[in-house]
Symmetry: D2
Subunit: 399 residues, 4 copies
């Protein structure tokens, strides 16, 4: 039976699926991704940002196929296709939004992913096509030699940058992803970039540099996300909500659950629904606060400290210390006339962007509008905010 | 206080809001539109189609402003801006999806709209800016002389055609909407089209002609919609669900409600979630079935008749007889060298498309996969399906 | 040696060429196409329309490859690739602009094409790769069984519609060309369309319907083209210009040649350069003039008649009677449940557009601004213009 | 008389012209820009890059109007509109291509611009609308207080970046130009940027950073340009061609002139026509050659030296030492909480890009394919190419 399928994607055009990928797509864990927004609460800033993990996964599959077809290993191509469709099935509702929460209560690394993939019916589909679940998981978490789905220049990031650009309307995420893929190839199983692809790789990095502050770390979506996380934490701690449930719930389930809660979580749900958000009591970058000190703090303790100092309820104070992640692109391998080198060693701009990642970093303390001033004052003391020369050391800060 | 706001829209670029429109936007009934998908279940066919009534309303405001600024009547411009943002606040979850249902149980015309607009806080915002709610409602329902929001060539349709194209990735909805607006002007309060705008108006009509079968009436979204409506009807009739609630619920609320129902509605919710949909037992156009006879039937009676004939449960049979709507563009006024004429009288293609609307029409009978064959056979008898010459008369068919 | 090449095309993305197609591309007759505008003088209306036959040929090659790869005949795929790159090498400067002129003075059918392909160095490249020139020519002129380059639904038209849209900025030419190609396949060597591709085929036809009057037959580019043709004819007849030269000249050569002419041709060149164009003395459609009578007239005789009647120089009167071409798409084969049928028999809109092609037809008489009125009056007499019912018979009019 | 005009631009949509701008547009010096390609010989690399100075000038007018309307000075708005349409009328054929040549033989600064604007008929149009030519010229050359057309963040660059992206198909030039303009305003007559526009300004700078090596300084277009310049220089020196003529010639005139030359210039013309270009004998960046030493050399002397050393004709050696221009964006004024500051002082990435401009710099020596090796060896000696640490000082290098 010809089980081929053609799906229209506004970003990449027509996507073709074969019988194997159609079967995976039809499995409930992948269908669930239809109901999980790619950008969590970013639609409160960018009204068009309602796209889902489902279409992103399709896009990753498209790009992964373009790249993987250069491998002379049909088996591995199947693994990679499966990995592309499955790479987000372990995500909780609102995408990354409650990840911190999940990690905290679930603990084991990649457990949620393994749960989602190894349970039927996904496992059955994989088995029926002779694809081993463990291999697929390795591709997803970056433990495969072949960094197509998760690596220095992976198609996961390529798709989300161009896709998030498309749906937010922010041009910054666009870069020449097709040229980048055309100029990537495999040495053995390792991805290397031909020299003519350097500009495209640089432009991908620059895209991220712009998308982070403009979209991914826009203060309004950070605030909404943190409000939501706080409400969920409250339910887990005070109302015996089982965090394992998040792995099978979708955005609707969790939002409706919150709406029906009495007290604090219900109030937060109403505030999110009506876009009545906490405001910034403090919002400063590394030029005013010690970023490496911040990274070592426990936000909850600081919330208590600030709340006490300001004389307000601790529920009304949210401390947001975003992590600073290593820029993986730096490590990408490039073929030069003098042999294979790291991208950061052949590209001036890439080398500079190490520090820029940090310059986009912002510490936030958020509160209801009415108490923003007192909370702000307390925060300044707590964080010892001052006019300072940048004094962080890159290696102390980046995780 | 400068309360201006700039919102990024992927379709029209930057949208500017002033204090009045920001206040309306911030009202809960408009914020609720963020959580109601523009195209209901169409994302089961087009994975990108997750856009909402909220962004559509912003887009309508943008286009309405472009057009209304040609009026020399600042008061009316404010009314029209309000109408653009509010024109969908009476919509139930999943947009049009359950309208039929609503009409049936709520009855009074425009009641849902009036309820949403006349109750606080929208009413307060309107009053504070000296805009009368009744005037706004008239613009929305097409009882105003000025057909900007609802008329022969209205901006509501313009926005949804280009927006639905953008998010589905289907090029058909694109047409030269900017030229069309540039070539529209007011004679008194009536919109007329300059001669140079005819091609643009024709192309809008053609867009609709293609978008209807490809997107709006795609059988998969019709089936999903009908399954959902059937589940909701069940809850209203059998489980005392109050249909008035739909006016304040959003897509999440209603979907989660269904998921938690036992029996038939819960099963439908799971099927929708996992995209296990009814299939077409019968799917024919006017060349095989008497369309004017169909329009007069009660689908419920036919469902019972077919179920009985096929020996299956009536829950497993859905009869879908879409209405055939009058093509409003036909009536658009055009300035010609021989005076103002109707568009259908100056444009050959527009005139022809009267009949085409009907050619895109399809009667559907839908059932679970397992019983599609028996239901199909019964349906053929019930509808007296045969090879026939087209014998409908336009005026008998169009409502 | 790896002689692969990657070329960036704004319309289709990256185009890949292999050694064979690179060699063809590097031949002078194909490089000449870089200097021949696709749309002749249309840039006088649409300033962006400066694209060339060269990029169009690359685009045709891209689409042709997509389609031809479905053939299981590597030899023929090579022929078709060659045909795509070479299909326009017989074009004179300004593309179609002077075709009529050429046909008149050169006479033999396809002679210019044959000359350009069979002479070295193109011939050498073909031979070196074992591709027969005669086969290539047959693909181009539509005498091959395989209508990829020239047929009922050919990729030549697909490319120019989307490309001309891109560069003019007119949205009308966009249609779902990728879907159309995906839904085309070969029965033997004949192209047939799967049922799911009908809407895409219809939309291609509609694109043409809109592009013709808006772009291809815009009166300003018709006028400029006709002025240019008149000047060239003058040079051939009065100044012994050898029309064979046109086959190796480009837009620059011919324009500079005209600029350096004394008298009439030089004046026309200056008028074109400064966009001082003739105006419409008469411009009417089939509702006012007998189109089938028009098709049988000799424009030169009518020009003389009108000039005499108006008392003006015959150089100042241009009669433009565009041909009405058969809509080839009508004949496209479609697979239906009842066997293979013609597109016009399964699609209502396609069937209707037969007549629409004629409704877009306009007879024009053009003159310098100062004498437009007298020439107009004389033209009305000459053409017996009146208010008439449409009375043409399709089969009498279409060529 | 209503002399308004609507022009379709693929980049910005519909452009509106009033009577004044229509009159300017209709003047021969502006019409001539239709026949001068914006990117010279870049279409040899990017086949779509056939756009002209004419459409660019329209685009600049569109953006300039958006910005200038924030000035409360209708007189100056008219000046700026005129400046936008006229800012390129002094350009020779092939845009920037022969500028160096022109400067060398014409000498006086801005003389070509002044000649084109102050002579009739442009002057007449300006006078008729009460606009002073001198003021217009000042806007163009950057001597006006109001840097709309020529300044730190000017609309000239904005338009060409997005336009060149559109026609080359290279995504790099896209940035959020609309946001940038929305966030610019006037303090007195000086343009300042609101804080929320910093990202948009940064992204413009980054666009340039990518467009320079990818498009503007692509070696193939550099080579073609240099070949052309060499041929023209030959004609001026050896064949008494009057360089003043370039100011009224267009791309066609000059190319056809070269084609008809015997010997060297004619051969160069044929090579350009058939894309048989010189190759890179040497192509190195500042990491291998002393960039500040290079900037002080006379290329002609080096060409002679290298030719002699290699034992080849000096016509076969082209030395290309591109200038390094100051990044004007650095000086843009930004409103911050601590007063107005320079962009380079509030943006890390902008500050870094000072050096990047240099990293994109390449010294080239070009020769016919056959002698590339000997010329390369001689060049290495002449330029003392070695592996070196970067040792340039920014202030020594940038002009």
């Amino acid at each position: 039976m010809n089980n081929r399928k053609l799906i229209r994607d506004p970003v990449h055009g027509y996507l073709e699926l074969n019988e194997f990928t159609v079967s995976l797509l039809d499995s409930p864990p992948v269908q669930r991704l239809r109901r999980i927004k790619q950008l969590g609460f970013s639609n409160l800033v960018y009204p068009g940002a309602n796209h889902t993990r489902f279409e992103h996964s399709l896009g990753v599959m498209y790009l992964a196929s373009l790249l993987a077809e250069k491998l002379d290993d049909e088996k591995m191509v199947d693994e990679i296709r499966a990995a592309s469709l499955l790479h987000d099935v372990g995500h909780p509702p609102f995408s990354h939004v409650s990840e911190g929460l999940l990690k905290r209560f679930l603990g084991k690394k990649h457990e949620e992913l393994t749960l989602a993939i190894k349970k039927t019916p996904v496992k059955d589909v994989l088995q029926a096509h002779g694809v081993r679940a463990n291999k697929v998981i390795k591709h997803i978490v970056g433990e495969s030699k072949v960094g197509v789905i998760h690596g220095d220049l992976d198609v996961d990031r390529m798709d989300y940058l161009v896709r998030d650009s498309y749906y937010t309307g922010v041009a910054y995420g666009l870069f020449d992803h097709l040229r980048l893929i055309k100029k990537m190839r495999f040495m053995g199983h390792e991805i290397v970039l031909e020299h003519e692809g350097i500009k495209a790789a640089e432009s991908m990095l620059v895209s991220r540099f712009f998308m982070y502050p403009t979209v991914y770390f826009h203060h309004v979506s950070r605030i909404a996300r943190k409000m939501y996380e706080r409400a969920m934490k409250f339910c887990i701690v005070e109302r015996d909500f089982d965090p394992y449930l998040l792995l099978s719930m979708d955005d609707s389930d969790v939002m409706v659950y919150l709406r029906h809660q009495e007290g604090f979580p219900g109030e937060i749900a109403r505030m999110l629904d009506e876009r009545r958000l906490y405001k910034r009591a403090l919002y400063v970058g590394p030029e005013r606060v010690d970023i490496s000190w911040c990274q070592k703090q426990d936000p909850e303790k600081l919330e208590e400290e600030i709340a006490e100092m300001a004389g307000v309820d601790v529920d009304k104070v949210i401390v947001d210390i975003p992590p600073v992640e290593r820029v993986r692109e730096l490590e990408a391998k490039v073929i030069t006339s003098e042999g294979v080198k790291k991208l950061e060693n052949v590209s001036g701009i890439v080398n500079q962007l190490k520090a820029f990642e940090i310059e986009n970093w912002k510490l936030g303390v958020y509160s209801p509008k009415e108490i923003v001033e007192v909370v702000g004052k307390a925060s300044i003391k707590s964080f010892n905010v001052e006019k300072r020369k940048k004094q962080y050391r890159l290696d102390e800060v980046i995780i």
